[in-house]
Symmetry: C2
Subunit: 254 residues, 2 copies
């Protein structure tokens, strides 16, 4: 009667540890695989819960619990009456998902991006370490300045694995409208789903003072971000210098 595959049967005999994996977790892993493989692309409508339940031979409630967790992790988006969609960075509401710098007064504004440098280099040791590459592997290096309402506010450097971003050029970056993560997702099939940032206080050196139009020695936030795609694979290193004269970094603790 019960179509559930035995949890115990498939475990190695010697496994003394908690060898129990709920069915909905297994379903979640299968759905994640389909997302990663591109069976359903960002922005697209996924099969309905009923359909997935049929495919996996489980009840709708079990599929539901799996999708609930994927929605909580922002991998998919549910819309009542319409269906479940693959999350995408090419959406208005996604623009500020990874940007925690907020204006002291008023609502978040869109930024203008000015690219200072785009080139391919060999990964320095520290970049290679954080991106889990071999030292000397090819990486794309990008340097840009972000301005809010005409005020230069962020000086940012990025390093991306060269292997994943083969056709990435300055021209393509300049002509693309919207956040870079949208471009990465649509043109290079790499979707960022999570990131961690380490933040420190530093002072502006000559270069930073010039790009951000602040005095040398001005205190700045330094945010070092590592972004991950499916399977917790690191695919971006970003180091930003934030001017906090009229902005602050917002952190919600819960």
């Amino acid at each position: 009667m019960n179509p559930v595959p035995s949890n115990q049967a498939s475990e190695p005999a010697g496994s003394a540890s908690p060898s129990f994996r709920p069915l909905y977790q297994q379903i979640k892993a299968l759905i994640t695989q389909s997302l990663q493989s591109g069976e359903w692309k960002p922005g697209e409508l996924m099969p309905s819960e009923v359909e997935l339940a049929g495919r996996f031979k489980v009840s709708q409630g079990t599929v539901r619990k799996a999708i609930d967790e994927l929605a909580a992790e922002n991998l998919v988006v549910r819309r009542q009456g319409k269906g479940t969609f693959v999350a995408t960075h090419a959406e208005e509401r996604a623009h500020f998902r990874f940007l925690r710098l907020m204006p002291d007064e008023g609502l978040p504004q869109h930024s203008d991006s000015r690219f200072v440098e785009v080139k391919r280099i060999r990964a320095p040791a520290e970049v290679a370490r954080l991106l889990e590459l071999k030292s000397g592997d090819a990486v794309v290096y990008i340097k840009r300045v972000l301005s809010f309402e005409g005020q230069p506010t962020i000086l940012e450097e990025l390093w991306l694995p060269g292997q994943l971003f083969k056709g990435l050029s300055a021209e393509r970056l300049v002509e693309y409208k919207g956040p870079m993560y949208g471009l990465f997702e649509s043109e290079f099939g790499t979707r960022m789903i999570r990131a961690t940032e380490k933040i420190r206080a530093v002072t502006a050196d000559a270069s930073a003072s010039e790009f951000l139009k602040v005095a040398e020695g001005t205190p700045l936030l330094c945010a070092e971000r590592v972004s991950f795609t499916y399977g917790d694979k690191a695919v971006e290193l970003r180091r930003g210098l934030y001017s906090t004269a009229n902005h602050h970094y917002l952190s919600e603790l819960s």
Copy 2:
């Protein structure tokens, strides 16, 4: 047959808006009320799901979904086989819940706290605004230095509503072991459940340089935290200066 109170019937006739409130949300609100009123105290075992289902005349599944959300918000903690417990700050794992400053190398360490000043004052205008008090209302002011492995790292000022923290004294603070939130919860019945921090970069002034043993002009993180208890009521303002020579502020983006 259905014990569910009608969602529509009790609505005002003219209500054109989305006047629908799922049953589990109503149950969640009722449970939250009991938490807030102290019917079950921090650290205590709550009634079982079956018992609550009986009390509220709903199915166990509905109670379960309510508690699921409370657990996700860290208001309660579930333990399989034992029961559901009211969350508490007087626990090892809660110590680092609101502290995002991590050592660059090694695991998080416990801090030593040295109190510089504890007094009652009238709330300055800005403090009153952030704590939603009237300007001039009594507040408790605390200033302290936190050290990790002997190194002074955080210079912190706190403002607490005087009304809620009547017996709070320097002696009580010094003799209490563990995080301040544990003291607030056990002695003053005020439990912090959420906070927001705004972070900026500043430079050390004469006072900060003395307390943190750094040169004047050293860049520091300035974190301004407002903490909330049940009902999104602000009950603490905290302003910390963090030395980021050997530490960083960790932010998870998801």
